[in-house]
């Protein structure tokens, strides 16, 4: 790929999604964009890039951004955050929110739905304890096409075998030919909205728990810092943030503190201060 082509595409991606593409990711541009060129009846990726350069059509730019920002997801990915949510965060919230009986959870990079549905399954397994509670799970993603897949809740045999115990597959999925669809009950627990993390969070409201995993890694340092500071504003002082295993707030934001021994889990700095003073 020519240098000016790489620069054109990486500029478009940065503007539209915040995604930072280094030159060692040229192979990703080639492997993910060549199928789009073919689908549009073009011979090569160069033709696609020329089309972008000449016309900058919205739907094409959007398709390119989708292809580059979509990543494979699986149920109960990395296990730990889900165990921490179930065993650590949720019991605390059941006490602290006992009078309002209301919980709001945000999956900020919902992708094809596995993360919000994993949380919905955890909550569904605890439904006896949660009777009378109103729980919102909001799943957002930049890509409309992944959200369409998330809403349908239909997964391949490979996808339902990565991370999902067989007993939960039996309980919450029905077979549709070669595919598996998650039950309507679980689908109804999650609301999906297309959303760009570079835009204002104000309209989303506040949340008790935010999962923002494996998306900051694609941003520049300053974008990461801004997103973290803005995430803090969507949480009450006792709210919890989950980041991906390879992500951190250290050196980026002083608004959150990692919880020792609990990988990927962050509390607000205000809350950490209170706990320290009380202790």
């Amino acid at each position: 790929m020519r240098k000016e082509d790489f620069e054109l595409l990486s500029k478009i991606l940065k503007e539209r999604s915040g995604l930072v593409l280094s030159e060692d990711k040229i192979y990703l541009l080639e492997s993910r964009l060549t199928p789009i060129a073919r689908k549009k009846g073009m011979e090569t990726l160069d033709d696609l890039i020329n089309e972008v350069r000449l016309r900058r059509k919205e739907d094409l730019l959007s398709e390119i951004t989708d292809a580059m920002t979509t990543n494979e997801s699986f149920f109960f990915r990395d296990n730990t955050p889900f165990d921490l949510f179930r065993e650590d965060v949720l019991p605390g919230l059941l006490q602290s929110r006992a009078s309002s009986k209301r919980l709001r959870i945000w999956c900020a990079a919902a992708s094809t739905g596995q993360e919000p549905y994993s949380l919905a399954i955890i909550l569904s397994e605890l439904e006896a304890k949660l009777s009378g509670w109103k729980i919102d799970i909001v799943g957002t993603d930049l890509s409309r096409s992944v959200l369409d897949k998330a809403r349908a809740g239909i997964y391949s045999q490979f996808e339902v075998q990565r991370g999902l115990p067989i007993k939960l597959l039996m309980k919450y999925f029905t077979q549709a030919g070669e595919m598996w669809q998650i039950s309507e009950k679980i689908r109804k627990m999650v609301t999906y909205k297309p959303f760009n993390l570079l835009d204002s969070f104000a309209a989303l409201g506040t949340f008790d728990v935010i999962f923002c995993r494996n998306v900051l890694i694609y941003f520049h340092q300053d974008t990461k810092a801004q997103v973290l500071d803005r995430l803090r504003r969507q949480l009450p002082a006792d709210g919890t943030l989950f980041l991906g295993a390879a992500e951190t707030v250290l050196g980026l934001s002083d608004k959150f503190k990692p919880v020792p021994g609990k990988r990927g889990m962050y509390v607000t700095a205000d809350h950490a201060d209170q706990v320290r003073k009380a202790g």
């Binding site: 075998q161 990565r162 067989i166 039996m170």
Partner: protein
Amino acid sequence: MKSCLVVDDSKVIRKVARRILEELDFDIREAVDGQDALDSCLNDLPDVVLLDWNMPVMNGLDFLKALRASEGGDKPVVVFCTTENDMSHISAAISAGADEYIMKPFDREIIESKFSQVGII
């Protein structure tokens, strides 16, 4: 080192499973059908059984029932690994005492994910 008995009438599948499981630090034994597997288990119980369904002589489900009825046979973790991928087969396997269920084709990631769910890695 934990032991895993790989039961499949296909030599290729046994070889693929062996390679994946050896990398996950399992000591591997092989059996070519349910009867062969049962003999192996009665001789020395493995920690885990990776079990095909359709095999000559004795199928996987009959092996599982015989294993669970035998002395100490409740101990091994049994993970089915089969092309049977419909809910009725899955239900029958779980009711007969299988701990997990892999639908072929499988890869290293699926084996790793399922084995970690049942707590053996």
